[in-house]
């Protein structure tokens, strides 16, 4: 499906700021996806949330699923995401998005349900919900933004903050001898039988953004096809709380984040030749008689 061409209508204040460059009524390419509302986001300059929000919206448009999609917004910088997307949205408590998504998906199995979560939300306060939704093989899609810091609360140490990274609550740098090591979610979840697909991507370049979109789209397609739980981890920036310019933040991401959080596909049951997560799980447990029992129901 081609990118829609549309007439852009800018809010008044935005016209004042950039009106000289884009005239109202001017026909431009690459317009706002339908699934994205015309509400101006609250993201900082250089933050990759905006890019990923848009990628999610583009995927929803391209898959034609806006009318049956229910999104779960997290607590964190993307807390207002329910205002940015045109599909039905639920605002969850901090960390609970996978549980809320489970509730929705169980009621309406034909809906496409996704959770969008940051690192504090998904990998700290919501670790139990994350791991168990994954191991249950909930047929949901999770977009995980890993920027190694708590953004909204002002730059505290995250479960994914790097060793020796300075944050508000690790002012002398993350001391792994005292507070331990970062959680590598893609690696961790790829060991679970309920998981169909895990990929780690980033948004620091056009090529990487294209790859990120491919991954997100696949994570949605997997759900539509009933293949199983899919998660895309996006290694992201937080220039504001890292105390850097956007350009320097991207460089820091390349220099420090990507070596610790290597990009790539961590699990893909379809690429491994299975129809879905259940089939792959059966094969992995091929020597366990009880796991091989056929069910009557």
């Amino acid at each position: 499906m081609a990118q829609p061409t549309a007439t852009i209508t800018l809010p008044d204040y935005q016209q004042e700021r950039i009106g000289s460059q884009i005239a109202e009524g001017e026909v431009i390419k690459s317009a706002r996806p339908h699934a994205l509302t015309d509400v101006v986001t609250n993201y900082c300059p250089g933050c990759t949330h905006g890019i990923v929000n848009r990628l999610v919206a583009e995927c929803i448009d391209e898959l034609g699923i806006e009318g049956r999609t229910v999104g779960i917004a997290p607590v964190g910088c993307s807390v207002m995401m329910y205002d940015f997307l045109n599909c039905d949205m639920i605002e969850a408590a901090h960390g609970r998005a996978p549980a809320v998504a489970t509730g929705v998906k169980r009621v309406h199995p034909d809906n496409v349900v996704f959770a969008y979560q940051g690192d504090g939300d998904l990998a700290s306060i919501g670790t139990a919900e994350t791991v168990h939704a994954a191991t249950r093989g909930e047929k949901i899609t999770v977009i995980f933004i890993n920027n190694a810091i708590y953004g909204m609360t002002g730059g505290q140490m995250a479960p994914t903050s790097l060793p020796n990274q300075v944050t508000q609550t690790s002012p002398y740098g993350r001391d792994v001898s005292k507070v331990g090591y970062p959680v590598r979610i893609a690696e961790l979840l790829s060991t679970l039988d309920g998981v169909a697909y895990v990929e780690r991507v980033t948004c620091d370049s056009r090529a990487h953004i294209i790859q990120a979109k491919k991954a997100i789209k696949k994570a949605f397609q997997n759900q539509i096809d009933g293949i199983g739980y899919s998660l895309v981890e996006v290694v992201a920036t937080c220039p504001t709380n890292w105390g850097m310019t956007p350009q320097n933040a991207f460089q820091w991401l390349r220099d420090n984040m990507l070596p610790y959080y290597p990009l790539g596909v961590y699990k893909d049951v379809v690429a491994d030749g299975f129809a879905n997560a259940a089939e792959a799980a059966l094969e992995r447990a091929k020597d366990c008689p009880i796991a091989q029992q056929k069910r009557e129901d």
Binding site: V70, M89, A92, A99, G103, K105, V107, H108, D297
Partner: protein
Amino acid sequence: MADNTQAAEERVLMKGNEVLAEAAMRAGCRFFFGYPITPQTELAAYMAKRLPKIGGTFLQAESEVAAINMVYGAGAAGARVMTSSSSPGVSLKSEGASYMAGADVPGVIVNVERGGPGLGGIQPSQSDYFQATRALGHGDYFMPVLAPSTVQEMADLIYLAFDLADEYRTPAMILADGMIGQMMEPVTLPPARDPKTLAAKPWATTGHKGERKHNVVNSLYLSPEKLEDTNRERFERYEQIKAKHQRQELMDCDDAEIVVVAFGAASRIARTAVRDARAKGIKCGLLRPITLWPYPTDAIDQVIANGATKFLSVELNMGQMVEDVRLAVNGRASVDFYGRTGGVLPTPEEVLDQIERLAAGQPVARSAGAKDVGSVLPQPIDRKSSYERGE
């Protein structure tokens, strides 16, 4: 043995916990999310067995925290949904309950109470009265709290709880206890309702199908004025609930001078004691709140109008509901308390003893079996002002 395939009108002998489950399904509930804990186990077990057979979903969550958030999600998606737990587990549900209240998402929470605080015990208790009636979780909200005292009421009240939750878009709670949950009594089950026949929920997040604006289920309002407006609108609904849904049972209250106030398991014991007191010629009655929120203040007014001068709140705790009795009585009569805690049940004889003391104008003991409990608890307040006392 409980047989759940009988016609609706037939009387059957079932455990309270199982009746909660069966009646919930008959009310149109098809989704249950929970985590194991004593003494509500039979409820979840019954759901696990039956729900899949009627096209429903039973899911044992990784925690009570997850379970209530699954309830939040399923409720937001428009389903009749419930969770059940016992006291320590209900504490964990407080977060989700607050979000449900804040986002106006209906759902039913069952608390088959046990003794506390902390891990406490597993015997019947009413130690969670404050938690249930003052808002289960942070924020400015209430929820309907229904307190069954018989197995029949387990059926009737959970049916009502689902209706109230949907009508007023609020979580609702069944506050039961280990006694009513574990005991078997005859019950006539309510008729089964097809969930498809229930009123539509146009606000639910079901996917807009291109037919309407997108729905948002949310409790976040960064503008204080907007949040205030939202809360005020919710409290208008609370006023409607208070006006329409106070429920109580009055026994022997027409000419009662002494009114024993007790709910749930404590009311069973109080009922026996009040009967025995009547047999001894004491003008004594029982006021049994069925709704703990809204509290049946109209009934308190009524028994005072009938001539009640002394109230005795009997509870399975160290004195919680007595505060609501005092608020409702508002100085028009004396209010005393008698309770046992930790899962110890008072005997009817203990309660009768207190009624007799009240009748004789003697102070009540507050909690038998405890050392010097009377001296550490506040004494009945002398409601006269210093001016009235001539000081």
